[in-house]
Subunit: 430 residues, 2 copies
């Protein structure tokens, strides 16, 4: 805020507008000078307006001449990196429009700034899976070829034209990157891997967690419904179909689905849903959670899950809003034969960063709790029930006056209809 | 973001700058027209830059002709309003530069939009006390004259030229305002009051609360230090002196100062500091908390408080950062003979809004907790101590390698020096 005000004064210096009568008194040269001056001020203002949302005031600097890093003196190493990030204020791991405000953009800024890679194109980079806007991760894995200071070890290779250093220990990848990354994106571990190992296709299992307050939910009903989701099923009614991107097989295998709820009646207690699968469909977890919430609210029966999994009977997905993305986190990605290496000092610093962030949120939550408790106590007749947390806050979208059961709602196109639609478009283009 | 881009194109329509050679070809009239055009564009841009943090895209609309509300058909009523607000994302209750992003600005938007007042100038408005940027309130009180639909009752008067309605019950001030206010600003209660009663000067006591996690603080030491602050003292070393605004008396009376800390060892447990006084100095609570934190960290002794209260011995305040504003909330303002009226339905809705906000923060805090616990468990040798909350996160500013005791730090100007400085400046101006 201070930055903006300063610019305002710098740029304008209490300049005032001249009236037409005053302008008439100036000669042509003076007028031309004025126009040039105003055009320059205009340009500065335009830049201020346009760049106002950028966190950096400067445009990214290109590498300066004469400061070029000599990558040819180093070998390269094929590694996996475990990245943790809080995605709440980001536009996603990656976006269609290659926006700057993504996890991936920050990662590459750090990788290039630290000269761990020469460029994205030459880094042999693959990601594990994309997370959407607002979604977080504890175990996002990327595979990438980093500069190495050893000459031979698992994953190390010497590109043509390169020589290699011969240090005893590898570079402190974690420490180097974390020092330049923002606090909400941290490298947790790294692992040297054989060439050809892919962070995306060699992932055996993925685990997501979803956090929500108990409110007035019937956790038992939610658990009953969860059981029906286990195993191999066609989950087309529990996701956003992505036919345009070639996804036509909606069969997935859910290995685990549990809900950890603390004992006791406090509606403000936090619950933790854990869901593990080999691979997930787009928005699958959020759709599953949305349905479980309706069941927990007793607006739907646990049998609804069975109905939605019966794609022969119900080939078209009823319209319902998926759950919020904020409480969702990719918590584990497991691989075979990977030896993750940590840096104890970095772990400490990472924990410290997260403690600061935790404090920000926890203090606000506590203040709100206090306010709500006081409001309940002044209600008549001192009705503490008023403070019980209402599960409706977990449901996205505007609450309709009369609840419409899922099986009575409007239906989306079926998979076959969507495939036909894309086939026509494809034909039309050619 | 979209709004800004649209404006950008609207305003500039791919206009390009004219070079001096091109300008020479124009005659004087054309140049004058250009200057006026550029001045207008400049002004629009200035507004865009200046107002970029506004939540609304439109400038406040003026009342349209023919839609004028006829205030002369109503009496007016002198009332107190109890306002609660979460100040975290606002620039303060009010700002020097009359920025729009303040609590007061939102209040007046609501008051004028609902035609409860005709204008700020004719509303006989007084505030209780200002809260700074980021500070919240549960019990901010304003006094103001609102439109009334009754003809005679406490606080009601019929201005010259007005007639009065004669309803049985007063307007639902709380409901009317809360429907147009943002969720984080809510009217809790109203009270009809006699003319001449001031929300600021008739306030008998004010209570602030400050929330912080226990971390590794020595709460007992903090409580011991708190005792020394009770009673009437000169608090110049526990505030930011405001000589420029005429404050030369730093004697205040602290009626209560307690710290509520839950039993048990969990460093993540929240503590609640409550401080009550008749009136407070600028930043007094934040300065008190900052000193108490240092004592809680065992970097200072509880006796430090006695030193700082001894203004004869220590007339100049040592430099130290005040505590963060986020956890601070004006929790109670008490008056004599006021009968606060609530609206049960509004209370319910207000609680619902705050529940939604609570959920946002609580979920994030829980997710961070889970991440930190997992990080601690992968540390070697599985050192859960690593997860213990470090109180350093509560201390503002960069931590220096070697702690400098308060009594050894650089000193600010004394009250006398500041008074002399302002006296000179005043003389100089005249």
């Amino acid at each position: 805020m201070a930055g903006i005000s300063n610019n305002y004064e710098d740029v304008f210096k209490k300049r005032r507008e001249l009236k037409k009568s005053e302008l008439n008194l100036l000669d042509k040269d003076e007028l031309i000078t004025k126009v040039i001056q105003l055009q320059a001020q205009n340009e500065q203002l335009q830049r201020l307006v346009y760049l106002n949302e950028k966190t950096e005031k400067n445009t990214p600097k290109k590498k300066k001449e004469g400061r070029q890093f000599n990558f040819t003196k180093f070998a390269k190493r094929h590694v996996f990196l475990q990245i943790a990030y809080l995605g709440w204020d980001y536009l996603g791991y990656v976006t269609q429009d290659h926006s700057e405000r993504t996890i991936e953009a920050e990662l590459f800024k750090a990788l290039t700034k630290t000269c761990l890679i020469e460029s994205r194109e030459t880094a042999n980079y693959h990601r594990c899976g994309r997370t959407d806007k607002g979604v977080s991760a504890f175990f996002q894995v990327i595979s990438i070829d980093l500069r190495s200071q050893v000459s031979s070890s698992l994953g190390v290779y010497i590109p043509e034209g390169h020589t290699a250093k011969d240090e005893e220990e590898e570079m402190d990848y974690i420490g180097i990157l974390n020092r330049v990354l923002p606090k909400e994106i941290q490298v947790i571990a790294w692992a040297p891997v054989e060439q050809g190992l892919s962070s995306r296709f060699d992932c055996k299992k993925r685990t997501y967690k979803y956090f929500f307050p108990k409110a007035d939910l019937d956790i038992q009903a939610m658990r009953e419904a969860s059981q029906y989701l286990l195993g191999t099923h066609d989950f087309r009614n529990f996701c956003k179909m992505d036919v345009g991107n070639g996804v036509i097989n909606y069969t997935r295998n859910i290995l685990q689905l549990t809900i950890d709820a603390p004992t006791g009646d406090d509606s403000y207690n936090m619950c933790e849903l854990t869901i593990q699968g080999q691979a997930f469909l787009w928005h699958q977890v959020r759709c599953v959670v949305a349905i479980l919430f309706l069941i927990g609210q007793r607006k739907e029966n646990p049998d609804l899950v069975k109905e939605l999994l019966d794609v022969d009977k119900n080939p078209r997905k009823p319209q319902y809003s998926m759950a919020s993305e904020i409480p969702l986190i990719l918590f584990d990605s497991s691989y075979e034969g990977i030896e993750w290496k940590h840096n104890q000092q970095s772990l400490k610093t990472t924990i410290k960063h997260f403690q600061e962030l935790w404090c920000n949120y926890a203090v606000r939550a506590t203040m709100l709790n206090k306010i709500m408790a006081t409001l309940s106590s002044i209600s008549v007749p001192g009705n503490l029930e008023m403070n019980k947390l209402n599960s409706q806050i977990l449901i996205e979208g505007v609450e309709s006056k009369v609840y419409k059961p899922i099986m009575k709602r409007q239906l989306c196109d079926s998979l076959e209809q969507k495939m036909e639609h894309f086939a026509k478009r494809f034909k039309h283009k050619n």
